[in-house]
Assembly symmetry: C2
Homo-oligomer: 326 residues x 2
Amino acid sequence: MTKPGVCYVGVDLGGTSLRALAVDDENKILGIKKVRTLRTGGPGRLIHRIATLVESTLRDAGVSRSQVRAVSVGAPGPIDRARGIVEEAPNLGWKRVPLRSELRQLLRVPVFVENDVNVGLVGEHALGAGRGAKNLVGIFVGTGIGGALILDGKLYEGSRGGAGEIGHTVLMVDGPLCGCGRRGCAEALASRTAMERDVRAAIKTGRKSIVLKIMKKKRKERMTSSIIAAALKKNDPVMREVMSRAEFHLGILASNAVNLLDPECVVFGGGIAERLKDSFVDPIRETAFEYFLRPSDRDRVRIVPGRLGDNAGALGAIVLAKQRLM
Amino acid sequence: MTKPGVCYVGVDLGGTSLRALAVDDENKILGIKKVRTLRTGGPGRLIHRIATLVESTLRDAGVSRSQVRAVSVGAPGPIDRARGIVEEAPNLGWKRVPLRSELRQLLRVPVFVENDVNVGLVGEHALGAGRGAKNLVGIFVGTGIGGALILDGKLYEGSRGGAGEIGHTVLMVDGPLCGCGRRGCAEALASRTAMERDVRAAIKTGRKSIVLKIMKKKRKERMTSSIIAAALKKNDPVMREVMSRAEFHLGILASNAVNLLDPECVVFGGGIAERLKDSFVDPIRETAFEYFLRPSDRDRVRIVPGRLGDNAGALGAIVLAKQRLM
């Protein structure tokens, strides 16, 4: 069953999973496949794995290689987009990996490499929660806090492609130490890593919490989004307290961005937002509204969770590839 | 002596002074005049004063009314630019004043009304310290802290013309109270008003300082930029300490903006920057460099005082008017 017309493949290259998505010219999804990201064997091995995943996605979707107009990969870390090089991705153990040229050699189709956070927001802007917004801020909460900006209708990348590092907005001078070496960044106050640090610290002071028990039961070393969701569901007081503090700081972070950039919409993405949706974003919105400089922004600025879930990145990568091809 | 060619007039409508500047098509300055802003008599009286100032500037420059292509006013507060209305300017005691239509009736030339902070940065971008930057952040430190953004080469105004409120970036959750009613905004930490509060508080605790003496001698009720400069010159320990804390917070503010927006340049304007220039901005730059997420930005991002001084606003208003007329 070979389908007519053209096809685009988006790939979301994450630290834990690798996801490919094939769509037609109208962004109708033709196929989705997901495998685990294997880091053993170096970049070459992982790039082969990406190529294999793309091919099997095409096969399942009944699309031939000749129908593929482009494969577009959302990859972590700073990207040299012009050359398709992943500059540095600690999550993958990559440093200056020429992803585009290697993948192009394997697949023999045009390949684009984009930043994973950027494609996430472009996806939500084109097809999800940020639809129709001229100016849009994306805040992605995970092990770190990433950000991206759509300004005047298009992805804003800054002077050297580095724009969007909203996680390293200092919100609390002399606050807790951040992974970047500075203190008081949003990432050090409200990322999943910061929340885990605070939960563990509370337990150490003798507070009762079921978080560690859930982690043990689920055989997780880290406090993942699913652990957080399970602990909140059981009304764990430490988890609730830590989450509510993180949401407070995210509310201030969103409000800082709204006061500076005057957007119509702030989209929260990443694992926690995908899992908890409105119950995560509602308290963030409440704080942001309190901190808006312009009270009328309360009626005008939407603060919402992403709508595309796991597909945001791969879809956004495709949308960007289409724009680049135009 | 009537000069040939066209002429543009920029007006800087400030809370204390009113400045008009006439230039030719190449932005060569033909004349400058300045008077005090009188607030008695309401908006009508002040608008008449603006018209009179424009006329006398033209007369002194030897330019006839028929040569004037536009008068462009940089006014404080939020502006309804499409209608030329000053929405709210507490400094002037104005609320929803139709400045454009009234001034047009008096002068019978096209009139533009722009936000004073925006025109300040547009001036520095076109003709001053921010020349050639594709992406540029302006931070204006005075009684408050204003901000403006040039992104992708042009003034970024946001979805409703409200972009740039960088002074209301929360840098210190639960920090000192801000004029906006919230806590820990940059404005509450590093504006002239915040510095005066801190100097007075230090004196109240028994610290020795000559600031109040200088104010008395100069017959100033407020700690103006000239008072600050005089106290620093005399090496007043309280003033030095307060200034250095303000500069530290401004460094973090600049770095937050650089991490988010990846600009080539941050320009500091406003009274203090105009007066103290590099001795004000050097310590700000030092802190910003420490807080940059990308160490390479230290070689790439310029953090500098404005170069146009008092003329930035009027010149920027003219530059914007020329763009609007195109």
